[in-house]
Amino acid sequence: MATKTTTPTGSARLDVRKTYKLYIGGAFPRSESGHSYVVNDAKGKFLANAALASRKDARDAVQAARKAFPGWSGRTAYNRAQIVYRIAEVMEDRRPQFVDAVRVSEGLNAARAGRVVDEAIDRLVWYAGWADKVTQVVGGANPVAGPFFNLSTPEPTGVVAVLAPQESSLLGLVSVVAPVIVTGNTAVVCSSADRPLPAVTFAEVLATSDVPGGVVNILTGTVGNTAPWLASHMDVNAIDLTGAAGDPEHAARLEEAAAENLKRVRRAPAAEPDWSLDPGTGRLTNFLEVKTVWHPVGL
């Protein structure tokens, strides 16, 4: 994307090309397989080479997410809200880069790409606000026929594999990742295969916005390489199949694999939803386990 300029000595300056890498455990490794793939823009013109994640990258990502889970879920909801809000702040700071990435990836004009980025940032702020409110809405005191306090509280389910939407490379990505982490889960995300660049930029934002390493891990590449391994992985607690929208056979195979350890599954929609609509609380509550405590009332 960079253009040739001249240096003070008059010689042509060489482009500094960026290597688009994975994001695992707070670091940016290349794929373990050493493979990369060509990413084109919406018009089919070459954009970049991105890392092609392999099953072993998926395995490493799950390990990193599992390691990060106790620390992240143990933070106060208020602190998680602050951090998710911080992601929005840093995204705002890098707005031009995101607008550019969305524009070339999704083939939008600059004005529409700008609106998409605004919506993505607003969505993060919106989900950040939910961090310390979801317990009050979903949990509560239950009336029981006995001398007990009976209290239900939602807790994060654990490591969640997320197949991010294929079409909406930034707004869709943020809309599926934010609700998973804001409640205390950690995530392994397979980005859009054809439009991974906004996801890589988003990973760079995560790395610089106080999100502990491993809380979000982002794998670029074809879903077929990683999703089946994540779906069958016994140490993954839930899977969001949004990215398999429009491919019911593939989604069914993933659901079957996920059944082995009774993962929570958010099923693939028939078609990718319109991400600009009000998201509701569905995605927030999908990946929670309700813990109910009976406590005797003092006589």
């Binding site: 799950v62 599992r66 069958s232 992985h233 016994m234 140490d235 694999a257 082995e260």
Partner: protein, 325 residues
């Protein structure tokens, strides 16, 4: 391995052919310092290159099962309880209760006071009980206390004794004292096998590791073992490789085989397979047997089991499905 008879005297317990070497402090020192020096850069490069071998599919399955059979499942904590030792012993007999084809571990390694509990649980399962003795892990006690510690563990039913050498004496050059101590402990072991721990993390140089290896082998140790697991660095691949070279050269010189046990710091199947490759390449396939090579480990076993499960089921397993220990 043939256990020596309980009546063997100290001198005959020691390997033959070295009587003149071990006759005096000065001859022993001359011999140990006359051993060829270890090329540190070369040894590390060689070990690193052995660690790059790719072991896949059926070879990997074989290596994992072999590694499981070689594990000395270890718990050496002040907080050990009989319940913990019983749980560990059960795990050693049936590492993966969900899969009867999974082989048992080689031994359970505990402090001497837990030997009885371990023995009671293991019974005649074929899994040995190893006890650390001789004022483990520092080895700082008078000889008669160390010998009493050893006899105590053997009487309680230990099949193997893991002794520590006196690193202070070794590093200050009193080799004969270390030698005689090993001989005395070997005698106190009776029918039990003796593993000699060097604590290579405290020996400073690879040359010292080679010297300690020869010293222990000449004194009649059945196994030489890298470390207690209480000092960092514990087992490393270059150190283990140097010890494997020593046992190989010792067999070439005397015809007697001595086992090797790296302990501490080996946590993943990948690491374990690197060690097995090194055993095969350096000492030879004769040592690829639980009688001649062991892993002192606790967390390694779970990783081996997870890899084993991955290979049989085709999906990644998780720590939720194996015991905590």
């Amino acid at each position: 391995m043939t256990p020596t008879s309980t009546t063997a005297s100290a001198s005959s317990a020691a390997a033959g052919g070295f009587d003149d070497v071990t006759a005096s402090e000065s001859s022993l020192r001359r011999f140990l310092h006359g051993l060829p020096g270890v090329d540190q850069v070369g040894a590390e490069a060689r070990a690193a290159s052995l660690g790059t071998r790719s072991i896949k599919t059926t070879a990997k399955a074989y290596a994992i099962d072999l590694a499981i059979r070689m594990v000395d499942l270890t718990t050496l904590e002040g907080q050990d309880t009989p319940g913990k030792v019983r749980a560990l012993a059960s795990k050693a007999m049936r590492p993966d209760p969900a899969d009867p084809s999974c082989p048992p571990a080689a031994a359970v390694c505990v402090y001497p006071d837990m030997v009885g509990v371990a023995k009671e649980t293991l019974g005649s399962s074929g899994v040995n009980v190893a006890a650390v003795a001789t004022a483990f892990p520092s080895g700082r006690a008078a000889l008669d206390i160390k010998l009493a510690d050893t006899r105590d563990a053997v009487e309680a039913g230990a099949d193997e004794i893991d002794m520590v050498i006196d690193r202070g004496a070794f590093l200050s050059g009193r080799y004969l004292q270390v030698f005689e101590e090993i001989v005395a402990v070997r005698e106190a072991c009776g029918p039990a096998h003796l593993k000699v721990i060097f604590e290579t993390g405290e020996l400073q140089t690879y040359d010292n590791v080679r010297r300690a290896s020869w010293l222990a082998m000449m004194a009649g140790g059945h196994f030489i073992k890298t470390s207690t697991g209480k000092v960092q660095p514990a087992a490393t691949l270059p150190v283990t490789m140097i010890m494997l070279e020593a046992v190989r050269d010792f067999r070439a010189a005397t015809g007697q085989m001595v086992g090797v046990k790296p302990a501490g710091g080996i946590r993943s199947s990948k690491d374990a397979i690197k060690y097995l490759v090194t055993v095969n390449e350096v000492a030879g396939p004769d040592w690829l047997d639980p009688d001649w090579f062991r892993f002192g480990a606790s967390t390694l076993l779970n990783d081996l089991l997870m890899q084993r499960t991955k290979m049989t089921t085709g999906r990644y397993s998780g720590p939720d499905y194996f015991t905590l220990d």
